[in-house]
C-alpha cells in the first residue's frame, strides 16, 4: 500500500506525498526494537484508540487518573504498548512523568517506548492530513518480514526529558534563536531511526524560516501555536 492522496480536496505538494509514502514504507519495515508487523499494529491501535470506551471515559474525566479499567485493544501488542498508544493519541495534553514511569515499569523499555512514539506520532500526521483533505485514512502499512536491529545508541544523557537523549555536540543558537539541534529533534534520539522516520513525514509540512507556502511564516506560526494550545502542549 502506498500513499498518493488521490481524490484529495486540495492537492498536496509532491514533496509531501513522497515524504508520507516513504514514512509509510518505513513503518512497515522492522525497526530497532519492534518488528514491521508490530509497527503496523501500532498504527492500527492508534486509530482504534478513538473508538476505545476507556479512552473516551478518561478524556471526559476531570483527571485522567480518575478512570481505571482496560483499553479496548484491536491488536496483540503488549498491554503497556496499547496503553501508551491510546493515551498519546487521545489525551496527549495530560500525560505525566508518573504515567510514563508506570508504562516503563509495566514492561516496555525506554527505547521501545521512543520507537513507539515515533511510529504513532508519524501516523497521527499522516492520518490527520488525510482527514483534513477529506480522505479516508490510508490502508495500513504493509509489514515486511525481518528482525529488529536492536542497536543501542551511545553517549545518552539525562537533560530533564522523561527519556535519555543524545548529548548535543553544539548548543550554540542558530539564526532562528534555537539551538541548531533543538530539543524537539533530540526527543527521540536514543533510537536513531525514530527521528528519521518522524521527520521524513514532518519536514515537508513546515520550516522555521523561509517557508514557501501560500500562507506567511507568521500565519503558519499562528496555526502551529493554536494546535499546540488546543493540545495543551508546553513545548
Amino acid at each position: 500500500m502506498t500513499i498518493d492522496y488521490a481524490g484529495a480536496r486540495y492537492t498536496p505538494r509532491q514533496e509531501l506525498i513522497e515524504g508520507h509514502a516513504d514514512a509509510w514504507r518505513m513503518i512497515g519495515a522492522a525497526g530497532t526494537w519492534w518488528t514491521g508487523a508490530q509497527r503496523r499494529d501500532m498504527v492500527a491501535e492508534a486509530r482504534n484508540a478513538w473508538r476505545c470506551a476507556n479512552c473516551a471515559s478518561r478524556k471526559d474525566a476531570l483527571s485522567p487518573n480518575a478512570v481505571s479499567g482496560e483499553h479496548t485493544a484491536c491488536t496483540t501488542l503488549p498491554a503497556p504498548a496499547v496503553n501508551a498508544i491510546h493515551r498519546i493519541v487521545t489525551d496527549p495534553g495530560r500525560l505525566t512523568r508518573a504515567w510514563f514511569d508506570d508504562v516503563i515499569a509495566s514492561g516496555i523499555t525506554n527505547a521501545q517506548y521512543v520507537e513507539l512514539v515515533s511510529v504513532v506520532a508519524t501516523s497521527v500526521i499522516i492520518d490527520t492530513m488525510h482527514a483534513a483533505l477529506a480522505l479516508d485514512p490510508p490502508a495500513l502499512p504493509t509489514a515486511v518480514a525481518g528482525e529488529p536491529s536492536r542497536s543501542l545508541e551511545a553517549d545518552l544523557v539525562d537533560e530533564g526529558a522523561w527519556v535519555p537523549i543524545k548529548r548535543r555536540p553544539d548548543a550554540s543558537a542558530s539564526d532562528t534563536g534555537l539551538p541548531r539541534d533543538p530539543n524537539i529533534r533530540r526527543a527521540m534520539s536514543m533510537v536513531s531511526a525514530a527521528p528519521m522516520l518522524f521527520f521524513r513525514a514532518f519536514m515537508p509540512h513546515y520550516r522555521l524560516q523561509g517557508l514557501q507556502f501560500a500562507i506567511s511564516q507568521g500565519q503558519a506560526e499562528f496555526v502551529a501555536s493554536r494546535v499546540s494550545a488546543l493540545n495543551q502542549c508546553f513545548y
Binding site: 486540495y10 492537492t11 496527549p92 495530560r94 500526521i125 534563536g177 526527543a187 507568521g218 499562528f222 499546540s228
Partner: protein, 119 residues
Amino acid sequence: MLLRASGEQTGDDVNLEAVIDGSGMPGIRWGRELNRIVEAVIARDAAALDESCSAAEPIMGDDAVRDALVVAAAFNGITRVADATGIPLDEPTAAATGALRSQLGIDAFDYDAKSQRYA
C-alpha cells in the same frame, strides 16, 4: 513563543491571548479563518472542517487553505512527540519567554505542573 519571534520578524502584531484560548481577534491576516480551520482539524469534526474550509476558500484561496491544513497536521503530530517525551524547553526559549508564559498561562502546560496536577 515561536509566534512572538516570528511576529517580530514579519511585523505581524499578533494577539497572543487569541492563540491560547481562540478568543478575540488574532491580529493576523485571515486569523479568524485560520482559527476555525485549526479548531475543526483538532476536534476531528469533518462537518465543521468542510464548513470552515468552504468559508475560507473565497477569502484565502485554495492553496492557502491547503497550507494551513498542512501545518496543522504536522503540529498535531509533533506536539505528541513533545508531550510523550516530556522534553524541556530549549534554554534560549525558556530564558526569553518566562514572563510571557506566566502572563498567558502557558506554564500550566509545563510537564512538572501537569505531573503534580494529575498525580
